[in-house]
C-alpha cells in the first residue's frame, strides 16, 4: 500500500523581525503532528521565501511577523506567489497583528492569522483541515 505523503510546510521569518520563540514552538508542534516542516531561520526576503517554497514543493507557508510589518510583507508575498503561479498554496501567519488587520489580510487570500495565546493544536487542526480536504 502506498504511504500517504506527509504535509509539507515552510515556516518563515520575513524581514528584520527577530522574535522567533513562537515560530520555533509552532515548528515543533507541526512536526509532532506528523508534518514535514522547513524552518527558514531569521531575516528572509519574500523572494527567498517564495523560492524556498518552490524548491521544497511545500503545501503551505506560514509567516511569523511581530514587528508590525505585516501590512507590507503579506501583500508582497501574495503578489509574488501569484506571479510564480503558486496562488493556490495555503498561506497562513502569526504574530502581533491587530484584529482589523487580520480580517483585511484574510480578504487578500491569507488563510488564517494566529496570535499569541493560540493552542498549537488549533494550528495543526487548521492546516490539516484545509490540506487534507484537497
Amino acid at each position: 500500500m502506498q504511504e500517504k505523503r506527509k504535509i509539507r510546510i515552510l515556516l518563515a521569518k520575513p524581514g528584520l523581525d527577530g522574535h522567533d520563540r513562537g515560530i520555533k514552538v509552532v515548528a515543533r508542534a507541526l512536526r509532532d503532528a506528523g508534518m514535514e516542516v522547513i524552518y527558514s531561520g531569521l531575516h528572509q526576503t519574500p523572494e527567498q521565501i517564495v523560492n524556498t517554497a518552490l524548491q521544497e514543493g511545500v503545501d503551505g507557508i506560514g509567516l511569523s511577523i511581530l514587528s508590525g510589518a505585516h501590512n507590507t510583507i503579506f501583500p508582497k508575498m501574495m503578489a509574488l506567489l501569484k506571479e510564480k503561479g503558486l496562488s493556490d498554496l495555503l498561506v497562513f501567519g502569526g504574530g502581533t497583528i491587530p484584529p482589523k488587520d487580520r480580517e483585511r489580510l484574510k480578504t487578500m487570500g491569507v488563510g488564517e492569522i494566529f496570535t499569541s495565546g493560540t493552542d498549537t493544536r488549533d494550528i495543526v487542526n487548521y492546516i490539516k483541515g484545509v490540506l487534507e480536504k484537497v
Binding site: 514587528s67 508590525g68 510589518a69 493544536r121
Partner: protein
C-alpha cells in the same frame, strides 16, 4: 420574528450551566507549584528559619548583603523612577510621545531603538526601508538624535537610551555629540544606555552582535563612561529578554549573571578596578505574574550579586555590591484574548517590582499583544504606576515581605537553584562557551516548548486562553497605534540628503581615525563621537568598526563601504 426552533436555541444559549456553577463553587487550585515549578507547602513557619542568622543571611535594607534593598529607607528617600519605554515612528514622533508622558507625571525619559537601528542600518538601507520606525525609533545620524532630544534640558533629566546591540556605542556617541554641541559638560549627564550586546544575539540580532564584537564594543562604552561620565549607567544587563524566551526565574538570574560576568572580567582585564566601575553596573529584570516568586527572585539576585562582587571580585565599596535594577513587566504574559485583562496582569507584575524595591519601572501597555502602545495605552500604563505609588501605601516600608517565612524560604531556594545553574554553566566551559556552542540556545528552546505544553495541556492556566475563553475580539479597545508612513519616508529622504550634502573630506579624516583606533585596539568612543559630529551615519560608524574587526561592513551583506 423568530421561529420556534430559533427561540429554543436562544433560550439554550442564555441558560446557566448549574453543574459547572456548582463545580466552580467547590473548585480548588489544580497546582501548588510556583510559576517556575517549585513545589510549595501549605504553610511556612518559624521552623524554616532555625539556624539562619538574620544579619548574615538577610540583613537590613541598605546593608550587606542587601537582600532587603539597596537603600535603608527605600522609597521614603525617593520613589522609583516611573519610566515608560517610548519608540514610535520618526525621532519627531517619538519626541512628541515623550512630551505627552512627561506632561502626565512620568519621571524618567526612556526611548527605544527600532530593529533597523539595533541592526546598525541607516534608514535608506534596502532592508530598513520597510521597517523604519515600526518597533522603536531609528536614529540614522546626529540630526535625528538632535530632533529626539530637542528642547529637553539634558543636564537635568535622566534619560534611558534603549539600544542593546553593538550599536549602543553609536547611540552613546550620538547622544554625547549632541550634548557637547549644545554646550553641556558630559560629566553631568544622567541616565543609562542598555548596552548589553551579548544577550541581544538571542533577540534576533546575531548579525549585529558577534560575540567578540559584542564584548569589545560593549566594554568600550562601559570603559569610556566610567572614565568620563561619572553619573551615567553604562550598561543595563538584560535579564528580561532572556526570561521572555520562556525560561524560569532562577535561569533568568543565572544566565544574566553569566553574561554580566563576561563584561566584568573584560573591564578588569582592561585595568579598571571593580570599585571604579562597579557602582554604575545595572540590570534589567522581568516581573512575571507569580508575585511571591518574583519578589523572592529579586531578593535572591540582590544577595547573590553582593556576594559575587565581594567574594569573587574583591569589591570593597558597598555601592559596587548593590544590585541596581529596572523592571519591565513581562510582555510574554500578555495575550490578545480579552485584552483589558492585561491591565490586571500588569498591575500585579508592577506590584511585585515595587515590593522588591525596584529602582526604575516600565509597565507594559495592555495593547502590546496587538500593536505598539497607543497614547491612551501608554498613559494607562503610567497611571498604573501612579496608583501604586500614590494610592496603595506599598512604598511606605522597605521590603515589606521580608521576614515572611514563605518569602524568605523561597528566596533561599531560588538562590540555591541559581547557584546550581551557574555551576552547570561552568561545567560546559563558562558562559562564553555556553554561548559559542549554542548550549544556551538549546536551553531556551527546551524551556519555550515546556511553557507551551503547560498551556496546551492546561497545567498552566491563562484566563481567556485556556480557561474562560470567549469569542475572539473583532476590535481593540482604545484603538490601534499606526505608524504614519510619511514618517519613514521623510526619515529615508533626510538620510539620503545628509549623505549628499555633508563635507566628505572632513568626514573621511575622522573615519580614518575611527578605523585605526578600532584596528589597533583603542577605545572607539572618542573617534566615534568626532565622526558623528561630521555627520557619519549609524551604518557607516558600525560598518567601519565591523570591518576593522574582520566582519562584513554591512551585517545584511548588501551594501559596501563607501570610504
Amino acid at each position: 420574528m423568530c421561529s420556534v426552533d430559533e427561540l429554543e436555541e436562544l433560550e439554550k444559549g442564555t441558560e446557566v450551566d448549574w453543574d459547572s456553577y456548582l463545580k466552580a463553587y467547590y473548585e480548588k487550585p489544580r497546582s501548588a507549584k510556583t510559576w517556575s515549578g517549585f513545589d510549595v507547602r501549605e504553610i511556612y513557619t518559624p521552623k524554616e528559619r532555625v539556624g539562619k542568622d538574620y544579619d548574615e543571611t538577610i540583613g537590613d535594607a541598605g546593608k550587606y548583603p542587601f537582600t532587603r534593598g539597596i537603600h535603608g529607607n527605600m522609597f521614603r528617600g525617593r520613589y522609583w523612577t516611573r519610566r515608560e519605554v517610548i519608540g514610535i515612528g520618526s525621532p519627531a514622533d517619538t519626541h512628541e510621545r515623550v512630551k505627552v508622558l512627561a506632561d502626565h507625571g512620568g519621571s524618567g525619559l526612556n526611548t527605544i531603538a527600532d530593529i533597523t537601528y539595533e541592526m546598525g542600518l541607516d534608514a535608506d538601507h534596502p532592508w530598513a526601508m520597510n521597517e523604519v520606525g515600526l518597533t522603536g525609533v531609528n536614529i540614522s545620524h546626529i540630526r535625528d538624535m538632535a530632533t529626539l532630544t530637542e528642547g529637553i534640558p539634558l543636564d537635568k533629566v535622566s534619560w534611558s537610551l534603549i539600544t542593546a546591540s553593538t550599536v549602543a556605542s553609536v547611540t552613546m556617541a550620538q547622544y554625547i555629540a549632541v550634548a557637547q554641541n549644545r554646550g553641556y559638560d558630559i560629566r553631568g549627564l544622567r541616565g543609562s544606555v542598555q548596552n548589553d550586546p551579548i544577550h541581544f544575539r538571542y533577540c534576533g540580532f546575531r548579525p549585529a552582535c558577534p560575540l567578540d564584537l559584542s564584548i569589545r564594543l560593549g566594554c568600550d562604552v562601559m570603559e569610556y563612561c566610567t572614565r568620563n561620565m561619572p553619573k551615567w549607567y553604562y550598561t543595563t544587563v538584560n535579564l528580561y529578554d532572556l526570561r521572555e524566551q520562556g525560561i524560569t526565574a532562577p535561569q533568568e538570574v543565572a544566565f544574566g549573571f553569566g553574561i554580566a560576568m563576561i563584561y566584568v572580567d573584560e573591564l578588569i582585564r582592561r585595568g579598571l578596578s571593580i570599585d571604579e566601575f562597579g557602582p554604575r553596573f545595572t540590570f534589567y529584570v522581568s516581573c512575571h505574574t507569580d508575585l511571591f516568586e518574583e519578589v523572592a527572585k529579586i531578593r535572591a539576585a540582590r544577595r547573590l550579586w553582593a556576594r559575587l562582587m565581594k567574594e569573587k571580585y574583591g569589591a570593597k565599596d558597598p555601592r559596587s555590591m548593590q544590585f541596581r535594577f529596572a523592571v519591565h513587566t513581562a510582555g510574554c504574559s500578555l495575550v490578545p484574548q480579552q485584552p483589558l485583562n492585561n491591565i490586571v496582569r500588569i498591575s500585579y507584575e508592577a506590584l511585585a517590582a515595587v515590593l522588591s524595591g525596584v529602582q526604575s519601572l516600565h509597565c507594559c501597555s495592555y495593547d502590546e499583544p496587538m500593536c505598539l502602545p497607543t497614547e491612551k495605552g501608554h498613559l494607562q500604563a503610567l497611571r498604573t504606576q501612579q496608583i501604586l505609588a500614590y494610592e496603595t501605601g506599598v512604598c511606605n516600608v522597605a521590603d515589606p515581605l521580608g521576614g515572611s517565612y514563605f518569602v524568605e524560604e523561597l528566596t533561599d531556594r531560588i538562590e540555591e537553584e541559581v547557584l546550581k545553574i551557574m555551576k552547570q554553566v561552568e561545567e560546559v566551559g563558562g558562559m562564553k562557551e555556553a554561548i559559542r556552542t549554542e548550549w544556551l540556545d538549546r536551553e531556551f528552546e527546551k524551556e519555550a516548548l515546556k511553557r507551551q505544553k503547560e498551556i496546551d495541556q492546561g497545567e498552566r492556566l491563562v484566563v481567556g486562553v485556556n480557561i474562560f475563553s470567549t469569542e475572539p475580539e473583532t476590535e481593540t479597545p482604545l484603538g490601534v497605534q499606526r505608524i504614519p508612513s510619511e514618517s519613514a519616508r521623510t526619515q529615508i529622504e533626510e538620510t539620503k540628503e545628509l549623505k549628499r550634502t555633508r563635507d566628505k573630506c572632513r568626514l573621511k579624516d575622522r573615519m580614518k581615525q575611527l578605523r585605526e583606533d578600532a584596528e589597533e585596539g583603542r577605545n572607539v568612543l572618542p573617534a566615534m563621537i568626532e565622526a558623528t559630529k561630521t555627520f557619519a551615519t549609524t551604518g557607516e560608524l558600525m560598518g567601519t568598526v565591523r570591518m576593522a574587526m574582520g566582519y562584513s561592513y554591512d551585517p545584511m551583506e548588501i551594501i559596501e563601504c563607501s570610504f
